[in-house]
Amino acid sequence: MNWAPIWPWLIGQEHEALRITGVPTLLLEHLLYVAVPVVAAIVIALPIGLWVGHINKGGTLAINVSNAGRAIPSLGLILIAYIAFEGSLTPVFVTLIAMAVPPILTNTYVGVREVDPEIRDAAAGMGLSGWQILRRVEIPMAMPVIMAGIRTSAVQVVATATLAAFVGLGGLGRPIFTGLATSVQFNPDARTVVVVAVVLVAVFAIVVEQSLGVVERLVVPSGLRRLQEQQRSGAPVNADAGPAQQTEEQSTVTV
């Protein structure tokens, strides 16, 4: 290990031996690669999930999208997108969005679908229109599940963005792949850079996850929070009933 070049690198200078951009820039890049796809995925998946859940049609499709998403190796998807579009990074970005959509879509659908039908009936009985039921009953009640989907999705994009550094995307994956290319096994400089970068990206993923947890606390109605805490203590992950239970955070890893 060679720690001497690490300190200036951490505060923003280029790493001398390996010529890697300073850490603050890499952090900002990684944040961008996560924030933009996740926001784009929310814009795409949320309306579809809400609508499909509200009218209760196409549910099987919405659920299978997420199961299929798990089976697709994102490395292959990134490489094929990159080569097919002649080395442009735009399709790599599209891949990041595509990887972010399934958990949000499925969780939104399941969240809306799981609202107790009696509550929905009561709302209709009080004279609420379909739109009002969606806005004032279904969305607030589905919020914990939707937020869990967004958290899963964000963690997944952090990982996929790391992979995308292999084809030239910046971010914290950069030093990791540079380290690999400069024989991480034997070069002390490369080894130190990799160790530091992996710790950074791991901490980054955890911080993203936790800060979305804070957002969740803000957007979930307080009455639901107690219920949610009860459910969180040890519900199973089930491949069949699937999404209902996969909605707990961190049930998806990116490949």
Binding site: G76, V195, V201, Q250
Partner: protein
């Protein structure tokens, strides 16, 4: 998209000529490697997760720390973890670019899912049943093996299914550290800028995931014949 694929590679897409004898022979080897890595990682994962789960059910206090710990490991991006393991594990076989480094990483990723589901499975056994078994003279150890595990099996297998599909995808990433199964096609296709090779790897690894998932569904039905009526709808 086809146009772009054509333009870049100068070869037709899909390029059926790719499936010549040599490549098909190699495919078989890659497929076997892929299945081996997946199977071994799941096996190791179960060997670690089941004792941990039994401990967590018996001593409730260790459950949350264990769940949090496996959860944190699960959050680490896969490429980062694999390359870190390559840097830090010993450089002699089976580590280095050998199978050991990949297996350690893959096993780590199975732990959260397998641990959580095994605990949930054991928790789902009705207390009346365990009490009845105790009254019939089962020792705790025998009760665990003969009564609690069989009843927990559907939930445990549900976990194995998710872990298997996830692992099949993750195996492709181990191509960076000398393994990779079908993932090797990704990197060699990338090096030669040949989309067909990547597409073959992509499609086959999805097919493998689907087939393994179905096989696990079938094995669940055979292993838990008493829950047939419940499982029939899946």
């Amino acid at each position: 998209m086809t146009m772009a694929l054509l333009a870049q590679t100068g070869r037709p897409f899909p390029d059926w000529a790719w499936f010549n004898e040599r490549n098909v022979g190699e495919l078989r080897e890659l497929l076997i490697e892929h299945i081996q890595l997946t199977g071994l990682a799941l096996l190791l994962g179960l060997l670690i997760a089941i004792p941990l789960a039994v401990a967590a059910v018996r001593w409730r206090r260790v459950y949350s720390p264990l769940l949090a710990f496996t959860g944190v490991l699960f959050t680490v991006p896969s490429a980062a973890l694999f390359i870190l393991l390559l840097a830090l594990l010993p450089q002699r076989p089976p580590f280095g670019l050998g199978i050991g480094t990949s297996l350690v990483g893959l096993t780590i990723y199975t732990l959260l899912i397998l641990f959580r589901n095994t605990v949930a499975g054991l928790d789902s056994v009705p207390p009346e049943v365990t009490e009845a078994a105790t009254a019939m003279g089962y020792t705790p150890g025998r009760r665990l093996v003969r009564v609690e595990f069989p009843l927990a099996l559907p939930v445990i297998i549900a976990g194995v299914r998710i872990a298997a599909v996830t692992t099949i995808g993750l195996v492709t990433v181990t191509a960076f550290i000398g393994q990779g199964g079908l993932g090797r096609l990704f990197l060699s296709g990338f090096r030669t800028q040949y989309t067909m090779e990547i597409a073959v790897g992509l499609v086959l690894s999805i097919v493998l995931a689907v087939v393994v998932d179905l096989a696990l569904v079938l094995s669940e039905r055979r292993l838990t014949p008493w829950s047939q009526s419940r499982g029939a709808g899946t």
